[in-house]
Symmetry: C2
Subunit: 767 residues, 2 copies
């Protein structure tokens, strides 16, 4: 444990940070008063609805919208012809919001209407007549790479995206030759989806000067604003404003990290109709027309020396991109992180190909590729340990990351509690005590970005803070709360710094008119980056208060302390004053002032260059999960008996919310491991409902212990690191490893359904 501080409250006594304060908006939500986009109805608002393709791959021969246009109550009908040529979506702008001439997936938009009611809008869709010429589709990414495969986009001449995921650190060939033990496997993962309780939706409206306001469930208000401004420009509306308002969101998980057809179509319809237009997805649309996690085919080979030290890791991947390109195509940039840096390994090779198919296009989802990569790595770690004859926990500890490391990719490991996490799991779950038949234990570790992740020119976040005459704070943050509780975190950080209570802090968020820029709620970056932005603003105001209090209380500014809504001088109980009173004195004195501060925090991390090297985050989060399962050898059903998820979080700003993140992550990870799958047949979603899409629900609740390792990161706000995604990262391999431990079959294809377990058991028994 070199250079690690595992001190919960390192350098000062904390009053608000570290406390399990319930969500400030919990009661509002519980009472049904929180305003979701579903609740918003604007005067004169129309209802938009989108018509999707009937085929996975087809030419559109003819569209006749005349009957739909003639329907009473219909204000507009749009087809691909009505979309400005330069209006394109996605990471490489390959996707117009309504397609013209050709559809490439069942999810492709072919028309949209706006009408005075949702019923009329639906009726109008039924009246649109389209003649298609069906074409052969391609649905398997590996087949799509073959030379004579049908092309999803003919002008591109290939189904393989031109993306640079190809690295080689060290010398993998040499290391392989020198290895004592080498294992090689193939793993596969399929589509899973976010299942946000709040479905997607947007309301667009224009003012008289053609400035846009759009309400949308987005995790990226500032980047969405950029996308919308580009759409306005494509529509001939230059130099306009786009105001993005994010209502209270019922879950994000990465699904809202891009802008989508429904938003751009709402914009087109609103502009055409000169009225607000709302498009809301129902649950079937939410399943059919939002983006999934990338299915992957993963080839992994790794080795170790006779002492169990990892010598090399060689991975190759094929990702199903679907018919269009969203941020999902960039998940290999995050997969790089566990591949190069989960455990110490000097020689690393990685090649990934994103391949167009006629499937739904994929997107970001909690972990952003890390769950797929870690499934392969951590399954392979167990296989390799077994081959090397080593204890699987000892094997991991031999190769553990440590504070001070710089990994082959250039990640600089500062705070690191990986070993403590492994030990905590070992402590909580008795690994060597599985005498019961069909019962086994598994372990898997994780590394994830915990201090921002530079995927854009800026990884920054702004905050503006003002105080009133009563000692209350309003803080406008760029950070986006999508249900995870960022507003609480922000409030606790500011309250701690200014000696106030969390309830004294009002967090104003996610209206681009009011809130400063932020790159978005992704990469588990919000606590770290938005937290530091808020903390910096609080520090600026604190300094001003200290200076003013110094004059009033006649003690040095630096000696003024803050607690329980008071400033005070520790040495003298007389020298104390309520903060509100002090602020009024500052305000109502000659040349008075009200306290305000602004702060922009951009972490000192790096954008990876062309060589795909660089310290992408200021710090990294670590964790280890342990699970005990019972496998029913008659049915193949896996029951989770116990779960331990130990995380190095730097500092738990709010242990209650932290638990919530970990529990939620683990449950999502268990679904990924065992039950969840968007079933596609030739590009068509066959289970677009909660009966057939098998989410873990309350009834599947699992006993989860979540030991918290506090390493007090030197750069994190009060030492905190991000913990949004890690909870779901190592779950699947931990479960797979436990199943192997229990019944000796290794399932390499997610989800690990009873059918697959049973088939493997039968095969093992030689049935």
């Amino acid at each position: 444990m070199d250079n690690i501080e595992v001190t919960p409250n390192q350098d000062r006594e904390l009053s608000v940070v570290g406390k399990p304060i319930p969500k400030l908006d919990a009661a509002q939500k519980a009472m049904g008063r929180a305003e979701y986009i579903q609740d918003i109805k604007l005067p004169g608002m129309l209802y938009g609805k989108i018509l999707y393709s009937k085929f996975a791959n087809a030419n559109i021969v003819k569209i006749d919208t005349s009957k739909a246009k003639a329907l009473a109550g219909v204000h507009a009908v749009l087809t691909g012809e009505d979309v400005p040529k330069k209006m394109k979506m996605g990471f490489i702008k390959d996707n117009p919001p309504i397609k013209k001439g050709r559809v490439s997936s069942f999810r492709d938009e072919v028309a949209a209407v706006a009408a005075i009611s949702l019923d009329i809008a639906k009726k109008a869709l039924d009246l649109i007549e389209i003649e298609y010429e069906e074409l052969e589709g391609i649905f398997d990414p590996e087949k799509a790479m073959e030379k004579d495969s049908p092309l999803v986009h003919e002008h591109l001449k290939s189904n393989v995206l031109k993306m640079p995921w190809n690295i080689h650190y060290g010398d993998v060939e040499k290391a392989e030759k020198e290895s004592a033990f080498v294992v090689e496997d193939k793993f596969t993962t399929t589509w899973v989806t976010h299942c946000c309780m709040g479905t997607s939706g947007a309301i667009a409206l224009f003012d008289a000067a053609d400035n846009l306001t759009i309400y949308s469930n987005t995790q990226i208000p500032s980047l969405a604003q950029k996308d919308f401004l580009e759409s306005l420009k494509a529509m001939g509306l230059e130099n306009k404003r786009a105001r993005v308002i994010k209502p209270i969101i019922g879950g994000g998980f990465g699904s809202k990290l891009d802008t989508y057809a429904y938003e751009h179509i709402a914009i087109l319809l609103a502009h055409k109709c000169k009225k607000p237009v709302k498009i809301m997805f129902d649950r079937v649309e939410e399943f059919n027309a939002t983006s999934t996690r990338q299915p992957t085919v993963i080839y992994i080979k790794q080795g170790c020396d006779k002492n169990g030290r990892l010598t090399f890791r060689d991975m190759r991947m094929v990702l199903d991109n679907g018919a269009h390109t969203s941020w999902g195509a960039t998940t290999p940039s995050v997969m790089l992180m566990p591949i190069s840096s989960l455990y110490k390994v000097e020689n690393v090779k990685y090649n990934a190909k994103c391949v167009y198919t006629n499937n739904t296009y994929s997107q970001a989802m909690r972990g952003y590729g890390n769950p797929q990569a870690t499934f392969a790595i951590e399954s392979s770690m167990d296989i390799l340990a077994e081959k090397a004859g080593m204890d699987r926990i000892e094997f991991r500890k031999i190769n553990k990351n440590q504070s001070g490391d710089e990994t082959p990719q250039g990640l600089k490991i500062t705070s690191c509690g990986l070993e403590e996490c492994i030990d905590a799991v070992k402590e909580e779950l008795k690994f060597d005590n599985n005498s019961e038949k069909g019962v086994g234990t598994g372990i898997a570790s994780l590394i994830h970005v915990g201090g921002g992740a530079r995927i854009y020119g800026s990884d920054g976040c702004g905050a503006i803070l003002k105080m009133d005459d009563y000692g209350k704070v309003d803080i406008f943050t760029g950070g986006t709360d999508m249900g995870q509780g960022l507003d609480n975190i922000t409030a606790q950080i500011v309250a701690e710094e200014l000696g106030l209570l969390a309830e004294d802090i009002n967090v104003v968020h996610s209206d681009t008119d009011v809130c400063p820029w932020d790159v978005g709620a992704h990469a588990s970056r919000s606590t770290f980056v938005a937290g530091n932005a808020a903390l910096g603003a609080a520090k600026k105001v604190k300094k001003k208060i200290q200076e003013f209090a110094s004059k009033i209380l006649d003690v040095p500014a630096k000696d003024i302390k803050f607690k329980d809504r008071n400033v005070f001088f520790p040495g003298d109980p007389e020298k104390s004053m309520p903060i509100g009173k002090l602020l009024r004195k500052a305000h109502f004195s000659p040349n008075g002032t009200m306290l305000m501060a602004e702060n922009f925090y951009d972490p000192d991390n790096r954008n990876m260059g062309k060589d795909l090297k660089g310290n992408m985050s200021m710090t990294y989060s670590f964790g280890a999960h342990g699970v005990k399962v019972k496998v029913d050898e008659e049915t193949g059903k896996v029951e989770v008996l116990e779960y331990v998820a130990a995380h190095d979080v730097g500092r738990a700003i709010n242990p209650l919310l932290l638990e919530g993140q970990v529990y939620g992550g683990v449950v999502m990870g268990l679904g990924y491991a065992l039950t969840e799958e968007v079933v596609h047949q030739n590009g068509k979603n066959m289970n677009a409902n909660f009966r057939d899409y098998k989410l873990f629900t309350a009834k599947d609740a699992v006993k989860i212990k979540a030991p918290v390792i506090e390493t007090i990161d030197k750069d994190g706000p009060f030492g905190a690191k991000g913990i949004g995604e890690p909870g779901c990262v190592p779950t699947a391999p931990a479960v797979a490893n436990a199943i192997y431990d229990a019944v000796g079959v290794r399932i390499k294809d997610l989800p690990i359904t009873p059918e697959k377990v049973l088939a493997a058991l039968k095969e093992k028994k030689g049935d």
Copy 2:
């Protein structure tokens, strides 16, 4: 013209300031899209309605609300018993929002209901049974001062408010003795009211933690917040938040400078019902239950020496306070200004008494007492000039205020264009050419605060400014736009400073969660104070941009200029860059930043002390009005033929809005002079409708010329001074003087109705 700069564009070429840019929200308003409080409907909202007293003065013997409570759809019925003891309104907190035991005016609130519809709420009011014991009322303030007058508030032992309006600068008695000419008169003014097109209203709601949000048509979001927090405290809700949101307002004119019963009752009802409660006044309520301008009885004596120099001014006033006390009771503090400082006069005496009566209670109204005082002063000036045998214009010029003066009250006259205003009026209106029968001309001048007015501990305003990646600005201002166009002024000032267009500036205003503190939209202070606050924020951002541009363009920061959305170095056309591009460079560079700034501006003016001396404003606005009237000697009807309103405005930030302010002020002043009167009979409003309350309307439109004198005030933003109120200040005396000039009768009682003119003409003719 000593030390006056009458240079329109003094020191730099201006691109945006000085331009007649139409209101940025004009199209929205014209298209019916602007959201007034009338348009706001919240989910689950109830409708509140107030029951008023049936008598001007009575004991409440019994209230029975049982039938009202039993009515289906009624959620709450409140009486005075339900109002917490400490919940009081007004300047001296003498007014509970619902009265208990005793009513003192027809406007007194006796009960309130909240119901699911307005109809049910009205029906419920009808079901409330009240038994009154009527008492003798007192309706004449001078009679109310008599010893055995009935007492409006018995516990006070007197109807005269204990307020300090009693000054004596110099030695009036001595000066009177030494005067060559002395005149003495009595003037009277009556109730007039604001007639805002948008009636009053509020919507209150509480969140689950008992924090209040209130939408209200207020001119004082920050001070209203303070009042509401006090009400919450009285309700036992300590340490809560009160968020005040001001929707788009349809006119203020001082009517919204206090908080009122309907707001506090909405709060009580919302808390009781746990739902949003909206109370909206209809037009009859707006007439009956909002506050008027103070009726005044004015005794004035003034004199001059043989050269026409004013020697003294001695004024005494009785103000009808009505049954309760709002800010109206403090209007003598502003009356002091013209009394002590309109024209040079060394010896000044003033005594004012505010007197309780059983009339409606009065409040602030455009000019805040100045129109009443100036009516007496400027009428008396003509009387005195005539007595001294002097030309009335020459007489005024002899006594003119000048830059550099310090008046007996301690007002420091900096920029001063009074003489230029008088000359402009003289130039535009041929004064000595009235040969036509019944035609006459009149002139009157004004002084008003033009650089803030310190009536509270702080006269400040805060502004927060942020810029985005596209060169657009969001500015959050404390300043309140109530229709006068402050948002435009703010946008133009910021755009000018940053080389942008007005449309690039988005002004976010009047939500206390977001906007910094401001003392309110009164005293013609907003352009000066909120303008300086915004300008200061823009200057801070400008400096940062210059520093960054200096590095990029490689020229000294101070030489970087801003224009047409570009920064440039004047010497070299190559050294130029769009501001948006520069901002993106600043943002996307290592340790990038987004530009934000906050600024609090509190003018360097003084609160008057107990001696009622002090420089209450940073600068003063001056003006002179001239009018030509025709009096029909058969009917007494006065027709306004021509009107000239010349104002020293420092700088016209937006000449179009300036004209609007002046035209609107003059028309309001003409109503005050000739037609407007809230007719009260024993405390009862007899003309609560637009048929009988004779507002000047479009059909009464008068030709108005508005010469603008720009004196480029050294402290004003781009040299500007306030011009919100002056337009209506000298109108009545100018008209009265013109009538005297036309037909030789002097009317000393406003409004100057045909009846009064005819009676005076008859009296003059000896009929």
